[in-house]
Point group: C2
Chain length 561, copies 2
């Protein structure tokens, strides 16, 4: 036997802790690595749980298996990874002075280095009772009672509290697979407020509603009542108190870092309540390190501390910590907060700050919008995507990008993420290079076009939000006559002037302010720019009327691709 | 009427020239902008031509239309863009001293600024005759005779010369839509040698072959004979001269910049034969500018001059030149050469240098391979992708990324492109952030995993090429028994030792050198690393046996996702 050089104890056998453990065992095969985990079932791909609920992943055990079908249990970690996992073993407290972790039944574990990968826990709703009809959805154990209730027809209606990533995914699973009546309550004015501004949020809202999810925004839950017969969720909405009755409720208000164990050692927390770490993932207490959902990160755009409990980051930071513990010079870098999800057939993704978040942090912020195609527009499988750019006027620094639609949006967000992490400006995004071929992208990547829209705006060509009211502006509809006829703007104040006739008929236009509209914003922008050289005041509807169609405005829902 | 402040003449009405013209007319509405074009049909989305041939785009006229269905003809450019296009008007020569462009019939056109957007022309094959059965595929006019021949059953067999982007797309169109017998001749050892090394090229080759394209690599065309009855293509191959008879031949050997007009003005050419421009897209002659396929670019990775006749770059640089002519401070920046295509159901994309190109340019280069999934492996729609990274040992600078497979690869290449343009190292790629959700990506983005494979290699964990011969190594197969049974390695020198039994049975292994194999390379890498800590010499098969399966090796083609 080789001599054990170091004893590393890791608390938490989810993505961050296990990734750290396995990597460290590879880098330092002579170290003794022990992972302590309160739950008996561990190493679950938690982001896959909604797809196990929906049945897209038919066997939930797949979430506990490697790509080659091996179950990631205690034996696997011992035999394959060289890591001891002690499942079903809660950690009680840390005795940092003695470098000891005290376990449940009086047992202690000595360490040279201690890693806190304690993760996060669901945030409760106000006055949320403990009751079999009141669920959270965070662990493998949360799956079974819901599936059993749905299968046994004891759950035919559900209230989901919170339209965040998890809430939206749950709403889809309940509605599509189980045909349940779903009410989705969200305190903000639109779904996914952490990711999306109102304009793109409207597309997410429409995706939910057109699939029979009863979405109630602006509804802040006040209390939950549960009886043997069902649940009643009480909420405060703009129009006054409201209540929803159902067979079950799932609270999906996000998570809060699990920091009690850290606090038992006097580990400092940061401003957001997560464990504060330095760029080596070291805490304020010697020999105690932390990674995963329990820590605070630095946001690349705002420079502020933030919490981003995302599986992608937990995996990455677990591995990073192993490299650091093994003596590597790698460092924790700021994150841009890229995230995404599928809501029925609508793809949604975003990175960076929303305009609302930027403004709340005191950053000046403007938006630009684009409704384009994900592939060459003539390619038969081309689909529409709606993109919103948030940027800082003046510096033209990009603050965030949001995207939604039936088309491919995750590629755009992954690409934009690399630029946001590097402090890119509009000019960088406008000059973006991409692997162009008609089945995959237009010749000018929509991200680049989006940046050009913003650049034009900074040079005086102003767009108004795609969701702006159309009734109190003088509208100039520059679409083809057949388009204006198929989907007329339902307002009295519309002048029809197809773009092809602009130059000959512009002199007939009254002076004063015009709002130019077309299908996707492109033609309207061209016309608005030209009018402004003719001493007319003109702005245009960003993203065009198609954006409103994608957001469910009945006047503009159409058969366009 | 407003006074004309400047007369700009642009030669060439394809992507670069027209994008420049339209943008300039918006920025400088009082300038007089004239585009001269030899052809009568212009503003064609040329990259869409293969899809018009295949019928994926049912009406070829769609390639001449905007997203809102407007035909981009002379009237459109006049009325909507404020640009005069003179189609069917060849430019004869430039009289730079007088700032005059001489047209065909003695007419001249005076300019203040002249833009050369003369594009490129198909490179001919050696001894390529002019004959109705001998085709190129570059313009709208090239489409009709092929479609007519195929429809009229006069073309039932085709030789395509050159397995580049266009050649591969053509082969698919001929085979799938028209059921033609297709022979694809390529001088290099694998298809797409400008984009791919042998390992990823093998996937492209398999995609062609399994769809009944007769691919002959290492076959350099020597001459083409055409008669009324058919064509015969003579080529030199490793095994000696060969000839292929067919009803028609399409020469798709790439394009060469069209520079005759530039030379008539004494405009300097660069080392590659394209028009030399500075970072303002200005040529060596005052008041003459150039953009599009006719110019030379600087490669971001090699720093060398190069030609990259890609529609995405032509569009971008046309717009850039308009900004510059209007007084903007934008500058031409190096390009990474991102490109992609679809070959039947295989997605292919790449950026940067291949290992072969890097070596040819004197750069030290190593490869790393990964066979992974495009989504969470448990997600039902997950598909396999094969990734190859080319990097510089020591500096760990990334030189190129190649990808192919049934899964999503273009997202990876677009993302990697942003890093290559910024001189990224392995550590940057390993720390990549992405919008993770199981329907779109694994928790650790395959690009990051690929970089980690390379990092491990740089720290001593060596992979061998996925296509290495397996017969002259001592193989250690660490797969599950059911995997080894389903797809055994067809060699005599194989020891089976499932990874789960490694630690207990490793002492039975003979000392000496082992080549460890598994399905995707991951387990083999772990085992090889562990063995090396036990004083055994071990390398592993990069990308695993699945890579060979994706490349068509009959021993490993299987039903794995």
């Amino acid at each position: 036997m080789q001599r054990v050089e170091k004893r590393v104890v890791i608390v938490g056998a989810s993505a961050a802790g296990l990734r750290c453990a396995a990597r460290l065992a590879r880098l330092e095969p002579t170290w003794e690595i022990t992972v302590i985990e309160a739950r008996s079932v561990f190493s679950v791909a938690a982001c896959g749980l909604p797809y196990a609920l929906s049945g897209d992943v038919p066997d939930p055990e797949a979430l506990r298996q490697t790509a080659d079908g091996t179950l990631r249990d205690v034996d696997y970690f011992a035999a394959v990874k060289g890591v001891t996992v002690r499942a079903g073993t809660p950690a009680a407290r840390i005795e940092a002075d003695h470098r000891r972790l005290r376990l449940g039944r009086g047992e202690t574990l000595e360490y040279d280095e201690l890693v806190l990968a304690t993760g996060a826990r669901p945030k409760p709703a106000p006055r949320q009772p403990e009751h079999p009809r009141v669920h959270t959805f965070h662990t493998f154990a949360d799956l079974e009672p819901l599936v059993a209730g749905l299968k046994g027809r004891r759950i035919g209606s559900v209230v989901v509290v919170g339209a965040g990533l998890c809430g939206c995914e749950l709403a889809e699973a309940f509605a599509v697979t189980w045909g349940a009546e779903v009410t989705l309550l969200e305190a903000a004015a639109h779904p996914l407020p952490m990711l999306l501004d109102a304009e793109v949020g409207a597309l997410a809202a429409h995706a939910l509603k057109e699939n029979d999810v009863e979405l109630r925004t602006g509804a802040r839950v006040d209390r939950i009542e549960a009886t043997e017969g069902g649940v009643t969720v009480h909420a405060n909405a703009a129009e006054g108190p409201t209540e929803v009755a159902a067979d079950a409720v799932v609270v999906a208000l996000g998570v809060a870092p699990a920091v009690e164990l850290a606090q038992s050692a006097g580990v400092e927390l940061g401003v957001t309540g997560g464990i504060a770490v330095d760029e080596r993932l070291h805490t304020s207490v010697p020999h105690i390190w932390a990674c995963g959902d329990c820590i605070e990160l630095v946001h690349a755009v705002s420079g502020c501390r933030c919490q981003l409990p995302l599986g992608s980051l937990a995996n990455r930071h677990g591995r990073l910590l192993a490299d650091i513990l093994a003596g590597g010079s790698e460092r924790l870098t700021p994150v841009a907060g890229a995230a995404g999800l599928k809501i029925f057939d609508t793809n949604v993704a975003a990175v960076g700050l929303t305009r609302a978040q930027a403004v709340a942090q005191g950053l000046p912020a403007r938006s630009a919008w684009l409704c384009g195609h994900d592939r060459a527009h003539y390619y038969p499988e081309a689909q529409e995507i709606a993109l919103q750019l948030v940027y800082e006027p003046g510096s033209e620094r990009i603050l965030g990008v949001q995207a939604a639609g039936p088309g491919e949006v995750h590629k755009r967000i992954d690409t934009a993420t690399q630029l946001l992490l590097r402090g890119a400006r509009l000019a960088d995004l406008a000059a973006i290079e991409h692997a162009y071929a008609p089945p995959y992208a237009p010749a000018i990547e929509p991200l680049a076009t989006l940046a050009m829209v913003a650049q034009n705006q900074e040079r005086g060509l102003d767009a108004v939000s795609p969701l702006s009211p159309l009734s109190n502006a003088r509208l100039l509809d520059v679409r083809h006559p057949h388009e204006s006829q198929a989907r007329p703007v339902p307002a009295n104040n519309v002048v029809l002037l197809p773009q092809a006739h602009l130059r000959e008929r512009a002199r007939d236009l009254d002076p004063g302010e015009w709002l130019v509209v077309c299908e996707r914003g492109t033609r309207a922008a061209e016309v608005a720019r030209w009018l402004s050289t003719r001493s007319l005041t003109a702005r245009y509807l960003g993203g065009g009327l198609r954006w409103r169609g994608l957001a469910g405005d009945p006047a503009f829902v159409g058969d366009e691709r």
